[in-house]
Symmetry: C2
């Protein structure tokens, strides 16, 4: 597949709505996904860290993915997270994603054991690729050491890219460490390896160094301004636009990220059920919410067209 | 349920054999489980860390558990690990374990998110207990911060024990920190909360402070001598017996534990397929094996009756 046909731009790791019984709510999920695609997201990285993906069973994720496609969301705009601790789970969800025609999959390393070798991680990704056995697979590696505690090293990327060029398609770097993102860009961007920043804070820098966009939590609530940085990164306005989205991010991340995103959607969409999170997460308290909404409003934040 | 009917003694977190296709091998699994029960284990903590439990799907674990019971292993000797990142997975496997009549379940906290609150962890365990909704449930908390990175605090235990006395039955402490095990014993052992050391290194100390035994990796290969410490901990021989099992442990843990256990079973059972591990683990290299077997033999180590 030629490089230009790959997904790029602003992707949102879509937060997952739960009902009162904590079951995933496909209706609210589809509505939020469609709002995101109308408001600046070029793609949806469903089942990411911010989606509470690991708090759901494989079956629950399969159902949500199928609900999205059935509801008319274009699979070429989807990059579901499909990496699990269990090889067989990763294979099952990845196979289904490829079968549905998804743009790619974003794959965590198995994250239970710590201090594992690059050889072991290589075998994991290679085994998934071989078992899926489909040239349409586009695998994006998910480097998020602050949460997974299992990093994806440059050496591992080099080895995977050497063995599976075209299939191993890129990375989301959620290390929060620009020097690591830059090293990935410097070393691999020219080989058709698409680097996405894990936060919009590094979006402009990433684009200037040959990256393809960002996959960012706050894409759930602030997609249009982030997309504007993506579309106008070569313009004279780029720095000012970047400063704007960085400021919004700074407000949101004063609170625990996932409950904060859900509280914002609940508040601006006038839909309190959106606050629900699965354990071990806990929703924001009243005071946390008031501080968050107050600062966002003072900053001119809106979510146009969200409230049904 | 009266406290004396609870499981105690030496439990092995049974290593899981895989075939050439890396599928779980129920035949070899049943044989090893029966060998363990004949050779000193009073119970089997299948699906623990050393079982590569998180490297298997829920379905794969259900099949192994059912194979054990079908093969005649007494469910009252089983304490399967049933804690997953996904609430629905934990509920599914726990329900089945209780339905089969297992002695208890050993439950990891959800381990993807780090730095979560005790409130969030409390909700996780409480939600599982409520959804399983069965008075026969005996839930043992699994504290293994070096791997899970999500600790189970004394405060959390106190709250769970207050709300679900009799159901919340104990803990496996794999912190490797005796002062933590001792604090658990001092604070909760008299409330009918059964503390198991996570390694036989602390077995004698644990028993002397009111604990119930140990659930230990090396129980897979050295069950009889460990059981002897359990049976004779009040004897004049106790210190000497403890020194012996501590010495064997020290040899094994010079190598990565899970591949080492499997290599030992492969070698002493003359069954090379036992070496197989799932990614992200990697089997021992030839030199590691030779060092391991050499030291074990020099120390008089045997696994009587293992080779078919």
């Amino acid at each position: 597949m030629a490089k230009h046909s790959r997904i790029e731009g602003v992707l949102s790791p879509v937060v997952t709505p739960f009902g009162k019984d904590l079951a995933p709510d496909a209706g609210r999920f589809v509505r939020h996904c469609k709002w995101l695609l109308k408001n600046g997201c070029s793609g949806l990285a469903v089942f990411g860290t911010n989606s509470e993906a690991n708090s759901m069973s494989v079956e629950e994720k399969l159902k949500l993915l199928e609900a999205l496609v059935t509801a008319g969301v274009t699979p070429a705009q989807l990059m579901p997270g499909t990496g699990h601790c269990a090889l067989t789970d990763s294979v099952a969800l990845t196979k289904r994603a490829v079968g549905l025609g998804c743009a790619g999959v974003l794959m965590l390393p198995p994250f239970y054991y710590k201090g594992v070798s690059d050889e072991g991680l290589y075998r994991n990704f290679a085994e998934v690729i071989e078992r899926v056995g489909d040239d349409r697979l586009r695998l994006y590696l998910y480097h998020i050491p602050p949460v997974s505690q299992v990093p994806i090293s440059l050496t591992l990327i080099e080895r995977l890219l050497g063995k599976y060029p075209g299939i191993v398609a890129g990375v989301k770097d959620s290390s929060g460490d620009w020097s690591n993102t830059k090293a990935m860009l410097d070393q691999f961007a020219k080989s058709g390896f698409d680097v996405f920043a894990g936060s919009e804070v590094f979006l402009l820098d990433t684009l200037r160094h040959g990256g393809k966009g960002c996959i960012t939590a706050t894409g759930n609530v602030n997609p249009a301004p982030i997309d504007e940085v993506f579309r106008r990164w070569r313009s004279a306005e780029a720095e000012r636009l970047q400063a704007g989205i960085t400021a919004t991010r700074a407000i949101v991340q004063k609170q625990p990220m996932i409950p904060a995103l859900k509280a914002i959607i609940a508040h601006f969409g006038n839909d309190p059920q959106w606050r629900a999170v699965r354990p071990p997460l806990v929703e924001l308290g009243r005071e946390q919410e008031q501080a968050l909404f107050g600062e966002l409003k003072a900053n001119g934040f809106t979510m146009p067209g969200l409230a049904g």
